[in-house]
Subunit: 422 residues, 2 copies
Amino acid sequence: MSEVVDKAMKAREASHKMARLGLIERNNALNALADALVKEEDYILQENALDMDAALNAGTDAALLDRLALDSGRLAKIAAGLRDIVALADPLGRVISGTTLYNGILMRQVSVPMGVVAMIYEARPDVTVDAAGLCLKSGNAVILRGGSMAFRSNTALTKVLAQAGQDSGLPDCWLQSVETTDRSATTELMSLHGLIDLLIPRGSGSLIKSVVENSKVPVIETGEGNCHVYIHSAAEAAYILPIVLNAKLQRPGVCNAIESLLIDSEVASAYLPSIIDALTDEGVLVHADEQAMAFAASLPESQRALVVEAAEEDWSTEYLALEIAIKCVSGLDEAINHINTYGSHHSDSILSQDYDAVQRFLLEVDSAVVYANASTRFTDGGEFGFGAEIGISTQKLHARGPMGLAALTTGKYILEGTGQVR
Amino acid sequence: MSEVVDKAMKAREASHKMARLGLIERNNALNALADALVKEEDYILQENALDMDAALNAGTDAALLDRLALDSGRLAKIAAGLRDIVALADPLGRVISGTTLYNGILMRQVSVPMGVVAMIYEARPDVTVDAAGLCLKSGNAVILRGGSMAFRSNTALTKVLAQAGQDSGLPDCWLQSVETTDRSATTELMSLHGLIDLLIPRGSGSLIKSVVENSKVPVIETGEGNCHVYIHSAAEAAYILPIVLNAKLQRPGVCNAIESLLIDSEVASAYLPSIIDALTDEGVLVHADEQAMAFAASLPESQRALVVEAAEEDWSTEYLALEIAIKCVSGLDEAINHINTYGSHHSDSILSQDYDAVQRFLLEVDSAVVYANASTRFTDGGEFGFGAEIGISTQKLHARGPMGLAALTTGKYILEGTGQVR
């Protein structure tokens, strides 16, 4: 039997035991996990240093190195994240619906754990701890498959967390990481229909695409964000610059930052000059359509160089960088149609004081989160008050938008009778 | 462009228009569909007769022929089914959750259509109408891929329904069926990630398995039911025979009928003789374990011949016929473990008056529906009060157990602000 199948079978067994744990037992274990991270700091940082050395030697870029690196402060913060999960409400045992059937059977639908949750992700040691903590709180057994660059860090973290959990009363194999390093292990993990209840890929678009296309196990797709702000002709002038700059600049590398700006042609001359000025002043490369391009003419030379002609592919590009596409549209219909055609159905916002225009935008834009007169940057489990975020789902099945702990649970119908037959 | 891609793109366009329809428009269209089925009866029955002739010539078995056959009475009943859907509550626009965020943004999560729903099924013309009606009520565009044996019937039904819908104000291409008859069309349908939001296979286990394993589009798995009744040592004697016979015999060919009976060894001699007598008297073939086998000795010869030794594979077999597996177990632990190991996580029932045993069974059996002291035959959208049933999900993502109209919807977060930035 392969390592992956063996671990999945053990996880299935552990999942039955996990499902019986009460909130106090799960919370005590979470605290024990946090304690262990602090206690085993030397071991964890030493393994992380070996990963860092290898990554440096391999010429890894600075951004990736930064995601991989752990130090005492980061580890303490990660441990504090586990304690934050303790404070969250129990996602299990919630009565979702219930009634007495016509025949006297008492029926209720209750939230229960998924069972075995697997996660495939890249070189992010913090995801290892996060995933373990969220799955534990929601009563699931976990199988982790992290990126090879963080192999030693993840193995060390999993070892420390798994042991601390067991010492605190969790079943053997409640948390396991896959040690086979070649791709066959990932492929096998995706094939274990019936042993794994849910697979969550976290990371780059190409990782997620590959999992979605190849998995036989149910997947929740997270990620891609080609988000828009649309400035309608009746937009409140005072909202425009703050929202556009916030949505683009506050953190350009995340999925809820905007990639495209749409503006009604009739108000383009009123607002676009100052918008393009402000964006280029911040170093943003602007991919402008023909009409928008004209407003760059009066910019200082250094900023004007940052305004280039947009190509068709710009409308569907997720830059995740200091770049934006700007298009002038004929009105609400074209804006909605553009967003539904080129967007990624993540987060899109209309700026308008026109009641009917706002209502239509909110109804007709087919995205996980639609906004009126606010920045798209609020699409986030923390901002939504979920306390923890597993990811942001851009699919429509099971969970859509920011996912809290509830996304790691499913429903179970419990029917209590007194001898009823049909 | 292939037929399938072309139709999927048209369905996507139609889905945006479907999402804007109010309840009255959708209900009016449902009534128009029902009227059209009655009005176009001659055409539909004539096409069905051609399917029936071909199926007869191909030597199709009687059960399949019966599923394929339409007549005036059946068509009227199918039309009445559409009118029943009119009476159901609107699954759309329901506020699932909502709050005011710390920054004053008003947030609500509202139920909205999935978008484009595709269904792959076998030779059942009634499924064509059912799927069209349920997707219409829930504001979705539909693509249907029926079995080749019902090709003419399904084409005729889709044509009549699609036209009636359009005449009643639904967008073009709200309902389409795939006309390419070879397998490539099915494969293509399963590959259209991004164009199709949800794929539901309905039919045999092998059809469902193939779709689950090959689809890149999110799938809801329906179907397999290896259900159990477990007679605990503290079972109420008066409940036993009625529930066992109902669960096995009331309709043996459906997924919520039981396939296995478990009984505590200590009460086997008290109950099994009469159970085996009653089952074999009804012509049920009993696959008995060693202990259960012994109770067959005193049966009349004709019934004794119906009791055979169980093999390991019997514990995981879905007979869907007059067959049952019987196993004596040492108690609650073995029963729960057996069900979680061999069952299909569909519907399982404990018969017991022991409070703690019942609680443990309900908590620890990992099935979509768990019962105490009632027949498993109640696992059904109609029995649960859902009014309509799309299928019974045996997976844990999105929907688990009987699925009503809500399973064809997803959530959308709507955030209304007054200039908030992060």
